[in-house]
């Protein structure tokens, strides 16, 4: 049996999952030390299911701790930034265009040194080892504890980054080092940004992972711990210590995947309705559709793989105005239970409309009896139009898909939705996020530039698939469960020889 945990900014949820589905669950406030909240959630979920904890095989945790740290600019380390690129790439130094407060948090410790590759694998210049050593000695003098190394075209050839890491470690033995090639994907600047953010989180990553381990220890659970990453697959805890940045956006991913699992389908549209916003996403083959654009985190362009989620300003706390013609985007948020009419407050919210209209039960319905029928009908129409319009925006297929409605604000919607074949509200949807963590798979991915023609196409793509499969097995998947879920070939303009960017991803289940 598996335990799924969601450590959010507000609540920590835990579910116990067996082959038959959710066996036990618990929701409790997130605690400052993280550990005691997890202990409380897991032990209550186990008790709720009436289980013997020896039957637990592994624990999967999803967390927003790292995203929040970047957004709030807290617990970030100063970073020794090294770019292997000269004589190229000096026109835009690292940290260009970062918000000033975030740039200040990671500090002004930047070195550009000789190195990097061309698109065809030749070297721009040999690695300037002496310059790397000089940069490392400077880091030591400044007392830096983390470094970020980025080399031109390293997603294709990461050898220079690895050699630079060796040199830095010789000079500063205890330093944490983040390599851009291990964070994947083309685009020097966004990849470097991700690498620097990753490095700045390395202390927090140690603390958070230690808190997770401590919680398991206190619970007497001697089982593997996995942590969910942004694409709905899992990482080992020790990998999160090194690559915390890969957990960004795992929240919406987990709730979407949890929702499809609870509903027992793999292709659907998902609306996760919270207090202030609704996140709309699409699931294909059980995985959220990924965004193709650069994703902005805390004001910095990054190359994180993120689900393509559209946030719409409609939630349970959305304020209703103009006789229902306007709903949101502003919300009373977490103050709903003080300010909402049906809770004795003075603000007409989307929740009050649902209660007054009789399709939701919350607070005291007598308190909303004065809301005019016309306002209820108009607000319902406004909300319906808002959801319809944004679902249409997200839809990529002509055929209608089922729509899954999850989250605390899901009571708002009682109507049939135009572009959906059916509307589903699975049981346990209020802990969909923890369910998503529990069912996450592990993945293997490759991305590189290859020369593809009609003769070698099959062989080149076949070899890439094989490599992605073995990467998934290396990540912990059982060999029999591994399947290829994505093959993407993007040609590169202007150059002969048909070079293409090839991306292949394989996923598989963890052994139970």
């Amino acid at each position: 049996m598996k335990i799924g945990v969601d450590v959010g900014g507000t609540n920590t949820d835990a579910v116990v999952m067996g082959a038959e589905g959710v066996i036990g669950w618990h929701k409790t406030p997130t605690t400052r030390d993280v550990t005691s909240g997890i202990v409380a959630a897991i032990s209550s979920a186990i008790a709720d299911g009436g289980l013997d904890r020896r039957r637990i095989d592994c624990v999967m945790i999803g967390t927003t701790q790292f995203t929040n740290a970047v957004i709030e600019r807290r617990s970030l380390l100063q970073v020794g930034v090294v770019r292997l690129c000269l004589p190229a790439a000096s026109a835009i130094p690292p940290l260009t265009d970062w918000p000033a407060d975030l740039a200040a948090a990671v500090g002004p410790n930047v070195s550009l040194v000789g190195g990097g590759h061309e698109f065809d694998g030749r070297k721009i210049a040999p690695l300037d080892e002496a310059a790397v050593a000089r940069a490392a000695r400077e880091m030591r003098a400044k007392g830096l504890r983390t470094a970020a190394v980025t080399s031109v075209f390293s997603p294709m050839d990461g050898s220079m980054e690895r050699r630079a890491a060796e040199i830095i470690r010789e000079e500063v033995p205890d330093i944490a080092i983040s390599l851009s090639s291990e964070l994947g994907q083309f685009g020097l600047l966004p990849r470097e940004n991700s690498t620097i953010i990753n490095a700045s989180l390395s202390d927090l990553a140690m603390h958070v992972v230690a808190a997770f381990r401590r919680a398991l220890h206190e619970l007497g659970l001697d089982v593997p711990v996995f942590i969910s990453q942004n694409d709905g697959t899992l990482m080992r805890a020790k990998d999160v210590e090194r690559y915390p940045v890969l957990t960004f956006a795992s929240g919406p991913t987990n709730s979407m995947r949890g929702a499809v699992h609870l509903a027992g389908i793999t292709d659907a549209m998902v609306v996760d309705i919270g207090g202030t916003t609704s996140d709309i996403g699409m699931l294909r083959r059980g995985f959220p559709r990924q965004s193709t654009h650069f994703v902005d985190v805390g004001g910095v362009k990054t190359n994180f793989r993120m689900p393509d989620v559209l946030a719409v300003g409609l939630g349970g706390g959305s304020i209703v105005r103009d006789g229902g013609r306007r709903v949101g985007p502003d919300s009373v948020g977490y103050e709903l239970t003080q300010r909402g009419l049906c809770f004795g407050g003075d603000t007409l919210t989307a929740t009050d409309i649902a209660v007054a209209g009789g399709w939701a039960e919350m607070g005291d319905s007598a308190l909303v009896s004065g809301v005019p029928r016309a306002t209820i009908d108009q607000a319902r129409e406004t909300m319906r139009a808002l959801i319809d319009k944004n679902l249409e925006r997200m839809k990529t297929e002509a055929r209608d898909l089922p729509l899954l409605i999850v989250g605390g604000g899901s009571v708002l919607v009682d109507w049939s939705v135009k572009s959906a074949s059916e509307v589903l509200r699975p049981a346990y949807s209020f802990v969909a996020n923890a369910v998503g963590a529990a069912i996450a798979q592990v993945s293997g991915e490759i991305e590189r530039v290859v020369a593809i023609d009609e003769q070698n196409r099959e062989r080149v793509i076949g070899a890439a698939k094989e490599e992605a499969r073995s990467n998934a097995v290396r990540a912990g998947a059982t060999k029999a469960s591994v399947e290829i879920i994505e093959v993407e070939q993007v040609p590169i303009s202007y150059l002969p020889g048909n070079p293409s960017r090839l991306r292949v991803k394989a996923v598989g289940d963890l052994p139970i």
Partner: protein
């Protein structure tokens, strides 16, 4: 007039619009320019109509694969060195630089060069949009020699090319670009002020900035950016802009052949009725059909825009399922002459369509 920090993002958005799907994402060039402005350098923009007849203007630009540029950012010395090679060949310093191509990243390279060298940038270019090849320039059509052409990379390698044929200039420079590692920076078509006045598409940098401003502002205050773009472009030398289709991308066929991205994008109608729209591209969008009916054809600009925000989507970032509005834009008169159409009209791209200028 000067270009300031606040202008750069608007100029990049407008340049992507005029790029007609190609031209390369201007974001990297925009960062280079911002970096110069933050360091206290200034960029003066010159009206082409106010140029001295005898002043020397040397255009600067980048060529090669946008995908390589995404990874191998320039050192910044390359376009400077390319310009120096032309200056050496002519035995004279440039009084100003200017874009060869206002669409895409090449709107920003001359701004960077101007900031670095402290020379002004002429508010004009040779394409009025983006085209894939070096001979596709109003400069060439109006008899300006393409060379001496300086071409340079980040390693300090450079060449000075001389030929009397615009097509051979493209052919040889393309070969050098590949040896340089897929991207190169160049300076060509050195001109007098008198030649710029006669041979360029005028006021295109300020046009790009204005287009970007309209898109940003409309988004900010919930206006209709499409209507505003149409109204504004009607007041410019481009004459007309019109939404020709709106719908959802349902098929995307992109291949690399002969050193270009060739392909077709298919869009199904929003209304659910009528034939789908197909747009054929060679880096840039060439022709848009609804069924068999041509809606717009090169050299008119065919821009694919995000249906909500009107932000232009370059062809390397088009994806299945996007909701888009297709907008066609006329081109200034200088780009519609018989000589211009021979250089970059439908036949130059092997299309059978007749060029009928877009009507309002």
């Amino acid at each position: 007039m000067e270009i300031g920090l606040d202008d750069v993002d608007d100029l990049c958005t407008g340049a992507a619009f005029l790029g007609a799907g190609g031209g390369g994402d201007p974001h990297i060039g925009g960062l280079m320019v911002k970096e110069q402005l933050r360091a206290g350098r200034r960029i003066e923009i010159l009206d082409p109509d106010h140029l001295g007849e005898d002043s020397l203007i040397i255009p600067t630009a980048m060529m090669g694969a946008p995908t390589v540029l995404l990874e191998k950012i320039p050192s910044g010395e390359e376009p400077i060195e390319a310009l120096r090679r032309v200056e050496e060949a002519l035995g004279r310093k440039a009084d100003a630089t200017m874009p060869t191509e206002v669409g895409g990243i090449n709107s920003t390279i001359p701004l960077y060069v101007g900031a670095r060298l402290g020379i002004p940038v002429v508010d004009a270019d040779g394409q009025g949009r983006a085209f894939p090849e070096l001979q596709m320039e109003t400069f060439a059509i109006n008899g300006v020699p393409g060379t001496p052409m300086g071409i340079a990379d980040e390693k300090g390698d450079s060449a000075c090319l001389t030929t009397d044929d615009h097509h051979r200039m493209e052919w040889v420079a393309r070969g050098i670009t590949i040896r340089f590692g897929g991207t190169a920076y160049f300076a060509n078509y050195p001109m007098s002020g008198a030649q710029v006045k006669r041979a360029s598409v005028k006021h295109t940098l300020t046009l790009a900035r204005a287009i970007g401003g309209i898109i940003r502002n409309a988004r900010g205050r919930g206006g209709n950016p499409f209507e505003e773009l149409e109204r504004f472009i009607a007041t410019t030398s481009y004459g007309v802009a019109r939404r020709i289709y709106s719908g959802k991308i349902v098929d995307l066929d992109r291949q690399t052949k002969e050193g270009f991205t060739l392909g077709t994008v298919t869009i199904d109608p929003d209304t659910g009725f009528g034939p789908p729209c197909r747009i054929k591209f060679q880096n840039e969008n060439l022709v848009a059909w609804a069924g068999d009916e041509p809606l717009a054809v090169v050299p008119d600009i065919i821009a694919i825009l995000d249906a909500e925000t009107a932000v232009p989507i370059t062809n390397e970032t088009l994806r299945f399922g996007q909701r888009v509005v297709v907008m066609a834009v006329g081109v200034p008169e200088i780009m519609r002459s018989p000589a211009a159409l021979r250089q970059f009209g439908p036949a130059a791209f092997g299309l059978e369509e007749e060029y009928t200028p877009l009507s309002g």
